[in-house]
């Protein structure tokens, strides 16, 4: 879909057993792939941080973030279009891989 982009979702949460699967379930139910997932202690004492990268459109990313915030143990959740810089990096890598694949075909 043309309106699909990579979005980075950030959530600040309590450190609770089972929260990862609760968060993952929000994506599964909407057939969204998680492209990247990081979970680590935030700089706020006792608060954990999720970083999730997913490809979708703005309406759905808003719904996902709202559903995340609805979880009792999620403090706050945010979304943004994945940064231009990392996007460009990614495209550069994709171009590079495509280029290498073409090279391997000509080598054969």
């Amino acid at each position: 879909m043309a309106s699909e982009k990579l979005y980075e979702i950030t959530a600040y949460t309590e450190n609770q057993v089972g929260l990862l699967s609760a968060v993952a379930g929000i994506f599964t139910r909407r057939s969204l792939n998680i492209e990247k997932l990081l979970v680590y202690p935030s700089r706020i004492e006792g608060i954990h941080k999720f970083k999730i990268l997913t490809r979708t459109d703005e309406r759905r990313v808003k719904a996902v973030v709202a559903q995340m915030e609805k979880k009792v143990d999620v403090v706050k959740a945010f979304w943004e279009v994945d940064s231009e810089r990392s996007h460009k990096e990614k495209e550069a890598v994709e171009d590079f891989l495509q280029h290498r694949e073409n090279q391997s075909k000509t080598a054969l």
């Binding site: 309590e14 699967s21 609760a22 719904a63 915030e69 609805k70 009792v72 143990d73 403090v75």
Partner: protein, 576 residues
């Protein structure tokens, strides 16, 4: 209770003490291996905790839902691990989608056996996480009071919903010092968001600028106790309104602003007015597809304001011009002083033309036919007349539900109980048991089909044992009526697997010691209803109704709200 504070108690006893702290007086449950330490302690608490022994755990949760919805307090369920726990899952999902506060405590195997596929072990937390507000495994006696207190707070606050506590057996038997807990704050959870005054002012300005405002309200009115605030708001602005299925009884049926139920089988007027309003004000509802019809065409001519306590509902299905995340009662109370007192007479009477068509073409043929078999709607209208709108009306799911919603009358709030979002057949009978226990002084009438009653028919045993005075009106047509209707209308009259061969319900009732009358004809109906309502004993009225009945008006699935079928041939068109 007081003499236990500070004492070393088992986790099982702490659970029971904390239940008393929460004000619980009724337990819907079923014992089994992994919850036996709690049931053992319960033996000493039966004078304070009334245990309703159901016949299947699904019955326990639906009864607790019925209790919660009629009483306005969380229902409590206690079951064992494994199959006991999985049997409540349908009800947990039902409570989630219908915003019903219930707390389920399920036994679980000893912590040392977790993950070993031990006898009756199942991953209840994993299974219920997507369908609960909160689910938590209690592994230590020290955590019991805290977890129970938190569970009740979460279940009942904000947008209510189900909470599951998975209670390991060693946490039940382990000892801890009992200190009562009173949870009323969780830092990551904001149940009632604050509404800025600017949003209230903006909403008021939009309402004051509107010539044809229309309010669509849902169960949020009942859940926040905003019945009076809604009535005052509609009175001051002279604004018409339509109710969702679960919003029914929030306003009395004779409120002049109320134009009927919204959606697929709702009133013609409420759906047409949704299509003609210039401002749609949605309060405590979630734009279910049964209400909106084709989403892209829903109220597209109108500005839309959506008031809901759940932020994730704003803009979920319908893009809105103004979203207000807050408690319906508080928001309406702040909004009413800011709206202009106006008369909108022409718009308020817009329904009359629709109502005349509906009455002549749909209602009278259903509830007052000249001859032929008894219609299901006729039975419901007769019960409404006999109870003068004072009964708690419980439904199962299907044609009985839609007709009960259409033809029942309500004079007070919290009088309608039905599985809306999940549409759980088999909900009705156990929910009616819970409703009667919650409101023992009121008549509780269940409308149920011959299909739905057989999904949870074992709960007749609970009625027998508890002597619960539920009045069961069985609309018996020997079909799965709603599916049969769709097969007739949309699947080329191919009646695949919808014909039912039924038991003799009178004999079945007799086996449970429950009085049952068969009603075969129109003449027998009113006297039988009168006899049914004459006392407070359980009773079944087995009414043989028209076999091929259809429910109209109907907006077929995926159609727009002004595409309304009046019968199999005719569609509503203005004034006809």
């Amino acid at each position: 209770m007081k003499d236990k504070i500070g004492k070393k108690l088992s986790g099982a006893e702490i659970l029971l003490e904390q239940l008393l702290v929460q004000g619980v007086d009724t337990v819907f449950g079923y014992p089994g291996g992994a919850i036996m330490p709690v049931y053992d302690k319960l033996y000493g608490y039966l004078d304070r905790l009334h245990h309703v022994l159901v016949r299947h755990e699904q019955g326990a949760i639906h009864a607790a839902q019925g209790y919660a919805r009629i009483k306005g307090e969380p229902g409590f369920v206690m079951v064992t691990s494994g199959p006991g726990a999985t049997n409540v899952i349908t009800g947990v999902a039902d409570a989630m989608i219908d915003s019903t506060p219930v707390v389920v405590v399920a036994g679980q195997v000893t912590t040392g056996l977790l993950g070993t596929d031990a006898f009756q072990e199942t991953d209840l937390i994993g299974m219920t996480t997507p369908i609960t507000k909160w689910s938590y495994q209690i592994r230590r006696a020290e955590d019991v009071a805290w977890a129970v207190s938190r569970a009740f707070y979460i279940a009942a606050s904000g947008r209510p919903g189900p909470v599951v506590l998975d209670f390991t057996k060693d946490a039940q038997t382990g000892l801890a010092e009992f200190q009562p807990c009173h949870c009323d704050f969780i830092r990551s959870y904001v149940p009632v968001p604050e509404v800025p005054q600017t949003a209230i002012e903006q909403a008021a300005a939009m309402i004051n600028a509107a010539e044809r405002p229309f309010v669509v309200y849902g169960q949020g009115i009942l859940l926040s106790g905003a019945e009076k605030e809604l009535g005052d708001f509609l009175d001051k602005g002279d604004i018409p309104a339509g109710s969702t299925l679960l919003g029914l009884s929030a306003l009395p049926s004779d409120n002049p602003h109320l134009k009927g139920m919204l959606g697929m089988h709702g009133s013609i007027a409420s759906n047409i007015m949704t299509c003609e309003c210039d401002l749609l004000l949605a309060v405590g509802m979630r734009f279910d597809d049964r209400v909106t019809g084709k989403l892209e065409k829903y109220a597209r001519q109108a500005k839309i304001i959506h008031i809901d306590i759940d932020a994730s509902e704003i803009g979920k299905n319908i893009p809105v011009d103004l979203g207000i995340v807050g408690d319906a009662k508080q928001v309406l109370a702040r909004l009413t002083p800011l709206i202009e007192k106006r008369r909108r007479s022409a718009w308020e009477h817009r329904n009359e033309e629709c109502d005349a068509v509906e009455r002549e073409r749909v209602c009278l043929p259903e509830i007052a036919p000249a001859d032929g078999p008894v219609n299901p709607g006729e039975v419901i209208a007769a019960v409404a007349k006999a109870t003068r709108g004072n009964a708690v009306i419980v439904t199962d799911v299907g044609q009985n539900q839609m007709l009960a919603a259409r033809y029942s009358r309500f004079s007070q709030s919290r009088s309608f109980l039905s599985s809306g979002g999940l549409g759980t057949m088999g909900f009705g009978l156990p929910a009616a048991i819970g409703a009667k226990i919650a409101a023992p002084g009121r008549p509780v009438c269940l409308f149920v089909g011959d299909g739905g009653i057989q999904m949870t028919v074992q709960e007749l045993g609970t009625i027998m044992q508890e002597k619960t005075g539920v009045k069961i009106v069985l609309l018996n047509n020997n079909w799965l009526g709603n599916v049969r209707m769709w097969q007739e209308l949309f699947f080329g009259e191919r009646y695949s697997c919808t014909r039912l061969l039924n038991p003799d319900f009178k004999m079945l009732a007799a086996a449970y010691g429950i009085r049952c009358e068969n009603v075969e004809s129109r003449e027998e109906l009113a006297p039988a209803i009168e006899r049914m309502l004459a006392d407070d004993a359980p009773c079944i009225l087995n009414v043989h109704v028209r076999e091929e009945s259809l429910v109209f008006p109907m907006i077929p699935p995926g159609k727009e709200l002004d595409q309304i079928m009046l019968n199999t041939q005719d569609w509503y068109s203005y004034g006809k």
